[in-house]
């Protein structure tokens, strides 16, 4: 329990399995014995290919699906519990909204369904509009909004009930860079307020920036779980070199980005060691190229994802070699 008496665990699954029926005889297992805990106040990212079971886990929490086996809890109450749902905000994978309602009408309707009325409802609506930057579109019908705006409206509906737990399915999809930045800031602010956020995303760099912990699902099983620094390999994969001045090419290197004016570029040299790096740098200097910066690149989440999902199905991932000692 936390100091305020809330459960330490916002969401828990114990041996959860879910089998869908496809036709009279065919059974499709979506989840197979998944056990995991989402601690209060953390940001947890669910990763996995399409069909891995991420959305199924979320819907089980909300009572939209019933588990075939196993148990769990939502904010200390049974999965799908109505009272617990009062404090949960949910954003589905697509912005499913009522096309003919305006943004304001949408928020009012869903706010009423969350049990708010009067001044409290108006306050929650105002907070959601401000938090998602919807002031300029609040009286427009949803069907006239672009996908990005609709995504923001969907997020606003998730924020309406002042939730202790947020379940966000692909929250960053369809957003422009400014909106993505603002949403990431919002998610960090929510964590600072002690709220718990569980989100799915295929944009792995965003996950690296936001998540405290990740859970990797494959074919309905958890195949990796933990903090990023314990999961990602410490091994240096190569080096990035930033240079100023025109450089048409660099043997063995891949241009990450180039600017024309002023001329700058970033190069990625995979699989070289420190000695080889020295030789490359000397070569650049001798050619009159100004080297602005050099940085080692370790395994990122994308590389980890590819490595792990190619491993044998069902095998638990051993911690990466060369990890830092815990502390």
């Amino acid at each position: 329990m936390t100091r305020t008496g809330e459960p330490d665990c916002a969401l828990r699954y114990e041996g959860i399995s879910k089998i869908f029926r496809a036709g009279l005889r065919r059974r499709v297992p979506a989840l197979r014995g998944v056990s995991l805990e989402v601690r209060a106040g953390e940001i947890l990212a669910l990763l996995g290919h399409n069909g891995a079971g991420k959305t199924t886990l979320v819907k089980l929490a909300l009572g939209l699906l019933r588990p075939t086996g196993g148990t769990g809890s939502l904010l200390g109450r049974p999965l799908g519990d109505r009272a617990a749902r009062r404090s949960v905000g949910f954003q589905p994978e697509q912005p499913y909204l009522y096309p003919f309602l305006t943004v304001r009408e949408t928020l009012r309707f869903l706010g009423e369904l969350s049990g708010f009325s009067g001044a409290r409802l108006r306050g929650r609506m105002a907070d959601a509009v401000e938090g998602c930057g919807l002031a300029e579109v609040v009286d427009r019908p949803v069907r006239r909004l672009s996908r990005g705006w609709q995504q923001r409206v969907a997020l606003a509906t998730a924020l309406l009930p002042d939730p202790r737990l947020l379940l966000l399915d692909e929250p960053l999809g369809g957003l422009d860079p400014d909106a993505r930045f603002a949403l990431k800031e919002l998610i960090r602010r929510l964590r600072a307020e002690g709220r718990t956020v569980v989100f799915n995303s295929h944009v792995l760099p965003d996950v690296e920036q936001l998540a405290d912990r990740v859970v990797l699902l494959q074919r309905g099983r958890v195949i990796a779980e933990g903090r990023l620094e314990t999961l990602l390999s410490e091994e240096v994969q190569g080096f990035e070199i930033e240079v100023r001045g025109a450089l048409p090419g660099l043997p063995g290197a891949e241009a990450v980005w180039r600017h024309a004016d002023p001329a700058r570029s970033l190069w990625w040299l995979p699989g070289i060691d420190a000695g080889e790096l020295q030789r490359v740098l000397r070569g650049l200097i001798d050619a009159g190229v100004e080297v602005v910066g050099v940085a080692p690149r370790r395994e990122n989440l994308e590389a980890f994802f590819a490595r792990v999902t190619r491993a044998e199905a069902g095998a638990a991932v051993k911690p990466a070699s060369g990890r830092r000692a815990a502390g």
Binding site: G63, R66, P78, G80, R82
Partner: protein, 232 residues
């Protein structure tokens, strides 16, 4: 998801519907009694049914047939009177003139109601609309034989049925027997001879030969000159 047990919910639903049934009884009882509408008073004409059917007169005729069966069944179990039968079956057969069983059953019901003239009229209309059907001729013959006791007419109807394709063997035997009853042994003899020649069935041949011999003997007894020339 709310875990309200299904059993209490089912009980509550069943209770509500049970109480509703009681309320319906009271509601019904308190309303002014409405005069029972005359039975089948709004049965449309067969031609109207055919027009309304939008190309499916047989379907509406089938629906009318089902109503006719209900009508027959209800009165069969009660007063055994079927005054509306001629009208109902006329409607069905107008909507679908090829509905042979409607003529046959309708005639039986109408005759059972003590209205053989209407029954015969229905059958004759069936014959007009289905001249190639051996069953229609046969049933008319049967009707004439049983209800009108008109042997010559019955015999002619059986003979007409026997002459049609697909008519079974026994129809000719009915014709022969009817001619005998009609006291026209010469025609009956001819028919029995035909039956004896055509049949593959030994027993039927034996019966036919037996009738032929009896008719031959009866003819000889009436001193008809030279009967031997016939059928040899």
């Amino acid at each position: 998801m709310n875990r309200a047990a299904p059993i209490p919910l089912t009980i509550v639903a069943a209770l509500c519907i049970g109480l509703a049934a009681r309320a319906a009884g009271e509601f019904s009882r308190r309303q002014a009694p409405v005069a029972e509408p005359a039975e089948l008073v709004l049965f449309p004409s067969g031609r109207m049914l055919a027009e309304m059917s939008l190309g499916h007169p047989q379907l509406l005729a089938d629906a009318a047939w089902l109503t006719a069966i209900q009508y027959y069944g209800k009165h069969r179990l009660t007063d055994r009177r079927y005054p509306l039968a001629p009208q109902i079956f006329e409607v069905i057969t107008q909507a679908d003139p090829g509905f042979r069983n409607a003529y046959l059953f309708g005639a039986l019901v109408t005759a059972e109601d003590g209205n053989p003239a209407a029954a015969e009229a229905l059958l004759r209309r069936g014959l007009e609309r289905n001249p190639g059907s051996w069953q229609m001729h046969f049933e008319l013959g049967f009707f004439l034989y049983v209800y009108r006791r008109s042997m010559p007419e019955a015999a002619r109807a059986f003979e007409q049925a026997a002459a049609l394709p697909d008519a079974p063997e026994y129809v000719r035997r009915f014709a022969a027997a009817s001619w005998e009853r009609a006291e026209r042994p010469e025609i009956a003899l001819r028919l029995w001879e035909e039956i004896a020649v055509r049949t593959d069935n030994a027993e039927v041949r034996r019966i036919a030969e037996s009738h032929r011999r009896a008719l031959g003997a009866a003819g000889a007894a009436r001193a008809t000159p030279d009967p031997a020339g016939r059928g040899r």
